[in-house]
Amino acid sequence: MVEYGVSVLKKLLFIFLLLTSLLFGSDLKTEQRIYNLIIHTLLPNKEDIKVWGDSLHNKELLNTIPNVRFASSPQDADFLLVSKKPLQDPQGIIFVTDFNLLQKMKKSAVGGFFWQKGRPNILFLRKNLQKKSIQLPESMQDYIEDEI
């Protein structure tokens, strides 16, 4: 009877852990999914994508994205996720996490992703996209801004 009870409890615990991991996992992955989409949209043909983040949070976000690896320095990166203006503009595609920063880096950053009024907002700057010769798919055309 006792053994049977322990066995049932073990099963219940396993189901509980599985469910909680799935629930919490889904929240954490929302931003990661968005960045995965952004990176592979901006670099559609590149197989070996090197990324770089300027903060722990950004690094964590990039760390889970498939088919990318971390660059050793910002200069080597194909895609950079930044939360503050770098001292020197790198060669790669710069994506920012704040609208104000995007305004500050409107000459170098190709776009940004940030939460505005509780809503997710993606912005691409047309001039910088053209500068980097990036052609966005039709579904993303709506998010391109000429000026900010």
């Binding site: 009877m1 049977y4 049932v8 609208f99 305004q103 505005q116 009024k117 509780g118 809503r119 997710p120 907002n121 993606i122 912005l123 709506d142 998010y143 801004e145 900010i148």
Partner: protein, 630 residues
């Protein structure tokens, strides 16, 4: 017990229902609270929106974008005004306009994290466009957005044209607070549910154990068929009329144990039980009755004939006979004897019916084993030798009033006159011939028909006493006195004819009294005597003759056994015994009656010995009626 189970189920369902109801109601309370709060907040938001609308109308002209772009101060003033309305509940208050590309952009933002003028905001365009087009407010439930509950959208219309949309975002904080307040109650109910769930699991497990234990207690571990524990339970509820009884016994089983060992015996028993189980039907009940004895209740439908059990029994017997029982490398051959009770409903009790099947089994054994013997078979056989009747024949005679009394006169040896009669039961055949009781009494001994017969005899005796005002004796067994139903019947008949009771003489047969029944016998005989009924001991001097009887019971008459009387004229021994009996009786003031007086010589002898009364063919044969003129 059955009702108790139903009550438990009803209580259990009621508790479940009550908790479910509570659970649903708590959820309802939460929804209602949310709805009410929502209603209040929306009304407040409406009022805010109205004020904002008035403020904008007051300050803005036909092209708000142009005006606000140019007038930084106005923008600051309006945004400050909007921010006054901001609270923990109204998280964001802002105004967006739609540009030529259909993109929504900020005109004013009263929120804390203020957006830039003309900054785009990705919104659900479908809904916002609707507000733009219809110029009607819209309440949007924000299910996908984190931290937002409701967005209230109000168009800002100038000269019939929508210029912008005022948005008020409700924070999720309030419904979350409501949810958190009610959550403990929900949790309690949930825990009760879980507790009940656990109880149900325990209950189911306990029930399973209980059933398992019960099954084990009623199952024979060796043969895996029911045991006598089950039979005891079964007999309490069984309607015996629906079954025929089969008693089976393995022939020479001791021989198997002695020659092959007990393990072989066990194996044979298990295999036999398996065969029996396979050969009977699902509705039949197989019980291991004793060591190598099995009892089977054969289910019988109303229209099924008596041969059903017989056919099954023959099938089983043949199967056992042709089976090669195997134990290790040994082949063992067996036979089975079977006794049947085909009509258990004719018996007074199920125990009597089983006892009868056992008796039939005994006959099967006695007649050579490997046989099936049923009531019918024994009747046929005995009829051939003893002209015995079957139960059904006696029953039919009873129903057709063919059970009658013959009366044999008893003479006083002093006056040579008839002083009383002995009632002798007879069965009148349909053709009018008469069958003596020896041919049918044994057959019905343990059945209800015997009770009916006793009643018929007593009624006949009383009717003749009433008619002829003469003493009549009738025979009863001690077992009749001990049988509650027969004793009640006797008392009932005596009480019904109380004034005639002193004319009645009860002759007791087979008077072997066991110590444990002495007290009951004494009490009951006393009760019978209290009505004036006389008690006679029949067949005294042979069989169960025991002088101790005089110490136990008050005896009025002693009937000396015919075996002593019939050769009184030739046997000195008989004469000596009768002489001593007469002497004893006289000493104890008991009257003596000599039975079987069949000749003048015997008559003279009994008279000479001082016997008080006599009966026998020499004096008078039993007759169907009393002729008082004699």
């Amino acid at each position: 017990m059955r009702y108790l189970k139903k009550i438990y189920i009803v209580i259990f369902i009621s508790i479940l229902f009550a908790i479910s109801y509570l659970f649903v109601q708590t959820a309802k309370i939460q929804t209602l609270l949310n709805q009410n709060v929502e209603k209040i907040l929306i009304n407040e938001a409406k009022s805010f929106a109205q004020n904002i609308n008035l403020l904008l109308k007051k300050n803005l002209l036909e092209d708000p974008y142009q005006q606000l772009q140019e007038d930084q101060n106005l923008r600051t003033h309006l945004e400050n005004t909007l921010s006054v309305l901001r609270s923990n509940t109204y998280k964001y208050i802002f105004v967006l306009y739609r540009d030529k590309q259909g993109v929504y952009r900020f005109l004013l933002d009263g929120s804390k994290d203020k957006a830039s003028f003309n900054q785009r905001l990705n919104v659900d365009k479908k809904l916002w466009n609707r507000v733009y087009a219809t110029q009607k407010p819209l309440i949007v439930n924000q299910k996908k957005l984190d931290g937002l509950w409701i967005t209230y959208l109000v168009p800002f219309v100038v000269n019939g044209k929508t210029q912008a949309v005022i948005a008020i975002d409700f924070s999720k904080e309030l419904p979350e607070n409501i949810y958190n307040a009610i959550a403990p109650l929900n949790n309690i109910i949930l825990y009760i549910f879980i507790a009940i769930g656990c109880l149900i699991i325990i209950l189911v497990y306990q029930t399973f154990l209980s059933i398992k234990n019960k099954k084990e207690s009623i199952t024979d571990p060796l043969t895996q068929v029911y045991n006598r524990n089950y039979m005891r339970e079964l007999l309490k509820n069984i309607n015996i009329g629906n079954y025929q009884i089969m008693m089976c016994d393995i022939d020479y089983f001791k021989y198997i144990n002695d020659n092959y060992g007990h393990k072989a015996g066990d194996a044979v028993l298990a295999q036999t039980a398996k065969i029996l189980s396979d050969e009977i039907r699902q509705n039949d009940i197989l019980i291991r009755y004793g060591g190598e004895e099995f009892l089977i209740f054969i289910k019988r439908k109303a229209n099924e004939n008596d041969t059903l059990a017989c056919n099954i029994a023959q099938r089983i017997r043949k199967k056992i006979e042709t089976t090669h029982f195997q134990y290790e490398d040994k082949i063992i051959k067996l036979t089975l004897s079977i006794g049947l009770t085909c009509n258990p409903e004719h018996f007074k009790s199920i125990s009597d019916a089983i006892k009868h099947a056992d008796e039939m089994l005994y006959i099967a054994k006695r007649e050579g084993r490997n046989k099936v013997v049923s009531t019918k078979d024994t009747q046929i056989q005995t009829v051939q030798f003893q002209n015995k009747k079957s139960i059904n024949e006696v029953k039919a005679a009873m129903e057709e009033s063919r059970i009658i009394c013959y009366f044999q006169a008893i003479y006083s040896l002093q006056s040579n006159e008839i002083v009383k009669y002995e009632a002798l039961v007879r069965l009148q055949e349909e053709d009018g011939t008469i069958t003596p009781p020896i041919a049918f009494l044994d057959t019905i001994m343990y059945t209800n028909i015997y009770n009916d017969l006793t009643k018929v005899v007593l009624e006949s005796v009383f009717s003749h006493i009433k008619k002829h005002k003469v003493s009549i004796s009738t025979n009863l067994n001690f077992s009749d006195i001990l049988d509650n139903s027969i004793f009640d019947l006797i008392i009932h008949e005596i009480e019904a004819h109380e004034e005639l009771a002193p004319w009645l003489i009860i002759e007791l047969l087979e008077y072997e009294i066991f110590a444990e029944t002495t007290a009951i016998i004494q009490e009951r005989i006393q009760k019978i005597r209290s009505y004036g009924v006389h008690i006679a001991l029949d067949d005294f001097g042979s069989g169960y003759a025991n002088y101790a009887i005089f110490k136990i019971l008050p005896i009025d008459i002693l009937k000396i056994d015919g075996s002593l009387i019939k050769d009184l004229d030739t046997s000195k021994t008989s004469r000596t015994i009768v002489d001593s009996i007469v002497l004893l009786a006289k000493e104890m003031n008991i009257k003596t009656v000599a039975e079987f007086v069949h000749s003048k010589e015997v008559y003279d002898e009994v008279k000479k010995l001082g016997v008080d009364e006599a009966q026998g063919f020499y004096l008078a044969k039993p007759l169907p009626k009393i002729n008082t003129e004699d």
